[in-house]
Amino acid sequence: MSHEPAKRVEVTSPRTTTGRPRRVVVTEEIDAQTALGEIYLRSLMRSQLRLAVGTLGLLAVTLGGLPLLFAMAPETRRWELLGVPFPWVALGLLVYPALILAGWWYVWQAERTEARFAELAGE
């Protein structure tokens, strides 16, 4: 393996004579609908949407997978938990705390995303 000679780097002093770039105020950029403002807005929307789709995907795979499981492996319908058939335990009882837990997790994450955005924009 051969080494290329290191590239020469030009070193210059900072341009102190011109004014410093204007500080970006995110809320102003969003209000003025600049390209930058739109990027901020879209990144907020995208992370919230990703969170929503993730939560719904989890719901689809777990809860939504049950009918398919019952159809593909009919013996699972006869499984028992403490003497009660598995479908009844899952759909009659366990599904409710699971839904609440999923909702709680979503709210926690969504609020975190918003807090980060507010911190970014509130400067």
């Binding site: 609908q33 907020l44 719901l59 599904v95 839904l99 909702g103 955005f117």
Partner: protein, 502 residues
Amino acid sequence: MNPTYGAIAVALVAVATVAVGAFGLRISRTTSDFYVASRSVGPVLNASAIGGEYLSAASYLGAAGLILAFGADMLWYPVGWTAGYLVLLVLVAAPLRRCGAYTIPDFAEIRLESTQARQFATILVILIGWLYLLPQFQGAGLTLRTVTGAPLWVGEVGVALVVLVNVLSGGMRSITFVQAFQYWLKLTALLVPVAFLLLAWRGDGAPIPTGEWTLPLDGATDHELYRTYSLILATFLGTMGLPHVLVRFYTNPDGRAARRTTLLVLALLGMFYILPAIYGVLGRVYASDLIAEGRTDAVVLELPARILGGTAGDLLGALLAAGAFAAFMSTSSGLAVSVAGVLSQDVLGGRLAGVAGFRVATVVAVTVPLLLALAAQQLPVANSVALAFAVAASTLCPLLVLGIWWPRLTDAGAIAGMVAGGITSGIAVMVTIVDSDRAGWVGALLSQPAAWTVPLGFVVMIGVSLATPHRMAPGVIRTMVRLHTPEQLDLDRGTWHPERST
């Protein structure tokens, strides 16, 4: 069942409802009430109110009846009605509150900047509202017949009259406290008897139903897997499109509170929906003759008399009847107010203004579904409600979801999607209501249409929007700022306000 106790219980609920309605006369019914309420109503009270309005005849009577008749597959009804709030939570709760829309037509107008899109949303809200009111009235007829032996029409007309008087004399809508009370009344009315029933059942040696009935996908109906997934789609996605659900989100002070309230609603519904399955299973043991009689919706009301008998059975039966009537009243009143509000604003508007317009609209809003209830055949209450969910999921769900998350949705796309989803699911519903006994694939596709009409609504909305990019709302970025950014940020969110729109 002793008719006297039952009649007294039902009468008490009716009188109490009207009395509170009359009290509400002194509280004005404008959107500002919601602003006022938003400052004083805590999330628990607000969530209870949403639960109180949401738990209808289908939840209270219908789910247990279907479980009695068809077993494990029917557990998906209560599961779907709860999971619908999780979908609502993650996709629409906070943005919808931030939007400031008071009704779904308001949302269509703000987001798409199109009066035409608003009009199509209006028609759908009215149709879905009527479709949902129909089983409420039928359930009331059934309850009164079970409790007192009166003919079906007596309960149907009776509950329609009480709702009419109630809404005309001030409406229940603005009184969050009453709806909140209704939730706890319904929960108590199902929970207390279940404790006694389970004790008596254990005394009997705890018999449990056996056989194919306990298994999901047991081959009792054709195309079960398709029907199950279609039902899941309808209930999970239809909840957000129900006319009386959205308006309550307005009482939250901001988007963050809307999320937290929805989470509480999820918890309250989860507590409630464990109960119908217990009634269904006990019904299978003690009241399976109701299946042959086609009266499975009465199982919740009849169990105390059958298991306990005597005065205890009569009193608990009366409590259950009272809870059932509370369910019809609160849901019907909420729906009647929502439909009447949309009717008076968007249909009568201009011709009859203000309170007079609202009153005329209320009479129309209640009379049409009452006539339908008197004319239509008796479908199981929960089935009939599921049809309303299917239409909402095929039309207003794509409108809300794409409207909130996809800036490229155009008014032309939204209208085309609402028409495509609405006409297909609407035809399926009409055929099913007129003639529910079709077998084979046609029957399955028509009686559970959501699995094909929901994707159709989404695909048409997206396709036509992509074909009409020039019709994108000019202010869509500003609207997206309004929908998605936290309120504490000082941003320009546009000027739309529900009380200034026409």
